[in-house]
Structure formats: structure tokens, C-alpha cells
Amino acid sequence: MPDQDPPQPAVASVEQRVDALQGALDARGLDPAKAVEEFTHLADEQWAPRNGARVVAKAWTDPDFRQRLLANGRDAVAELGLTMPKHHRHLVVLENTPTLQNVICCTLCSCTAFTIIGLPPDWYKDLEYRSRVVRQSRTVLKEMGLDLPAEVEIRVWDTTADTRYMVLPVQPPETLGWPEERLAEIVTRDGMIGVARL
């Protein structure tokens, strides 16, 4: 009979592991509590889809801005006071048309233009979306409630570098002539990811 293995210590819970890291950083005088507070403020208040919604609404109502936005997204959103992290050196805005649907994803991790379209939702980071949307785009979109007519071409954009993408949805015809502020209210995060039409 082999000797019995001694009892193994259990894996710490994720909460215990976060506490451990925060405690270790705190013990080194780095003030992680303040960093958590600052991040929470940014995540809850600043990095929201309403930023991208303002960009979309302006692009719908101002053709010159739309041109600038499509030519250089980063500079154009800066006109609205919106910033991106330093390492996001390029923002590419993907214009949908009645016969073209752009969809963004990140198969390798979960990169997004989070300061513009908001932090990515849970399903965007899940294994299902990451594995399937590049290969089965039409099927996946249909499962998610977007049943595209056959004549609509699909382009999937895999965020494999630090270039960031956002989709410029088609303006619903019934909203033509609406003021910018009202238009911004109908733009959704999922529309800017490209899994929904407005």
C-alpha cells in the first residue's frame, strides 16, 4: 500500500485572491484602495456607451464630421472631448449600409474601444462569442436576434492588435430630422458592436 498523500491545501477563492493582491500592494505603500476607487468611478460614470452614441448621432447629422470620423476616428472623437488610452493608437469606424453589416469581436482576448462604446458586456468575453462569430457570423447573429436578409453582406472585424473599432449603425429612416441629443438616445452599445440594428 502506498502512503496516503498528505491533505492538500485548497485553492483560495477569487475574493480571497483579490484581497491577497490588494493587501500585498498596500503593504508596499502603493495605495491600491485609491486606485480601485478611481477605476470604479471611471467604469461606472465615464466609460459608457453614451459616448459612442454622441459620436454616432453627430455623424448622422453632420456630413463633414462623418467624413472626418471615417478618415480618422481618434481625432474625430477628440473633437467631442472623448479620449482613448495611449496604446489605442487608431480608431476605425465601420459604416453599416442597408446591405452591409459590420460586427466586431476579439477572438484572442476581449479588446474593445471601451472608453467610447463602453466596457464589453459579459457575452462578448465569453468563449461562445469569441469562438463562433468569425466562422458562423450569420448563424450567431440570428441566434442573438438579428436575422439578416440574405442580401446583407457580413464583415467581421477581429481586434487582434491595438487598433480599435466601432460600428456606425444605419440611421433609422423614421428619425431623419431629429435633433442630435434625441438621436443619441436611440443608439445602443450592441448596435455599435454590430450585433443589433437600430
Partner: protein, 205 residues
């Protein structure tokens, strides 16, 4: 590395668990994990390529079973230990249990010497490179042919940047592939655009 993270085109996963107005966070610890990671990047403890690579280096069973923010947490902890900032023993003592970390890193590489500049419309092939360290080439495009649509500004070369290897910044090319060529007779017809680093590409004459 051909790791578990390289999910594009993998089969067997089910329906996307999609809900309207889905949130980014579901528990307070998730926000703290993300905050501490952002803090570490801000302090210069590691860069984003090192961060992504430490996630890729998670043991595959751990990677698949961990939630998104557990992966963030594991990468953060792994890099704090590897950089000598916090000993693993201290983390486990503070956590009152085992603190699973990522597996060790393989060597990185610098830019490919024979890389070349491409123009819009050029036909390119993704090199048949098998890279042991960090790489931002999804496996589903390896060896595949596409068309250059545009060029990005230059970025740090991830294969080097994740490993403290000297390299120059290089652009990525937005390369358009057809799913029918990526997965013949086994995909919904569509175009897939991938941001491909210059070093990963060669010209198709």
C-alpha cells in the same frame, strides 16, 4: 503560442448567452481585479502584451474554467510574482490557500528581418510561423491568403514587447479574408478582417 486562448473558429461551443443590456461586471471583486490590473499597468509593472501573454500561459484547463476576471487576476498575480514584486508565498499566505498562477514563458522574438511594406489591394499570405512565445496571429489565418485593405500606425511588436526583447514598432495591416477560404465548406459566407502585424505577412506574387 498555440494556446487555449486562440478560440477563433474552434467548434463545439454553444449558443451565445446573450441578454439585452448585459453588464460588464457581476460581482464587486471583478471590478477590483480589473482596477488592480489597470493600476499595475499605470505603475509600469507590466505592459499590455505581457498581460495578455500571462493570460495565454494559464494552464489550459484553468483558462477554460476561469471567468474573464479570474483570468485578469491570474495574469496580474503571475506578473507581480515573476517581476519580483510579490513572492508567491506571500500571496498564498494572504489568500489562505493556493493561488494558481500561469505557466512559465517561452522566449520571445524580434521583428522578422524580411518584412516589407504593403499597399492597399496587395495580396498577402500569413507566414507559416510557429511562435513559442506571445503572438497576435490567430491560428485560423496561419498560411491563409487575403487582401490588404489599409495600414495602421506603428505599434510595439507584441512578440517582442511581451518578452522585453528589443524590436522596432511596426504597423498592422487590415487584411480581408473570406470565410470560405479560412474554413472551406465549413463556415457561413462572410468577410473577416484581421489586424495583422507586418512581420506575420509575406507577399503573394
Amino acid at each position: 503560442m498555440d494556446g487555449m486562448h486562440d478560440l477563433g473558429g474552434k467548434q463545439g461551443f454553444g449558443t451565445v448567452r446573450y441578454t439585452l443590456n448585459a453588464t460588464a461586471f457581476h460581482a464587486p471583486w471583478e471590478k477590483r481585479a480589473n482596477a488592480l490590473h489597470s493600476f499595475a499597468v499605470k505603475l509600469g509593472i507590466y505592459n499590455m502584451d505581457e498581460y495578455r501573454h500571462a493570460i495565454e500561459r494559464m494552464e489550459p484547463r484553468h483558462y477554460l474554467s476561469a471567468s474573464y476576471y479570474e483570468r485578469t487576476l491570474t495574469s496580474l498575480a503571475t506578473l507581480c510574482v515573476e517581476k519580483g514584486l510579490i513572492p508567491r508565498e506571500e500571496l498564498e499566505q494572504r489568500a489562505h490557500g493556493i493561488f494558481p498562477l500561469a505557466t512559465p514563458s517561452a522566449p520571445g522574438r524580434t521583428n522578422v528581418a524580411t518584412r516589407e511594406r504593403f499597399q492597399q489591394g496587395d495580396r498577402v499570405r500569413v507566414r507559416l510561423d510557429y511562435v513559442p512565445g506571445h503572438v497576435r496571429m490567430p491560428g485560423y489565418i496561419r498560411g491563409k491568403t487575403g487582401v490588404v485593405v489599409s495600414e495602421s500606425p506603428a505599434y510595439p511588436f507584441p512578440d517582442a514587447h511581451a518578452h522585453s526583447v528589443e524590436a522596432v514598432d511596426e504597423p498592422t495591416y487590415d487584411v480581408r479574408f473570406r470565410t470560405e477560404e479560412l474554413w472551406p465548406n465549413s463556415a457561413d459566407p462572410a468577410l473577416v478582417h484581421v489586424g495583422v502585424f507586418q512581420s506575420y505577412l509575406e507577399r503573394v506574387e
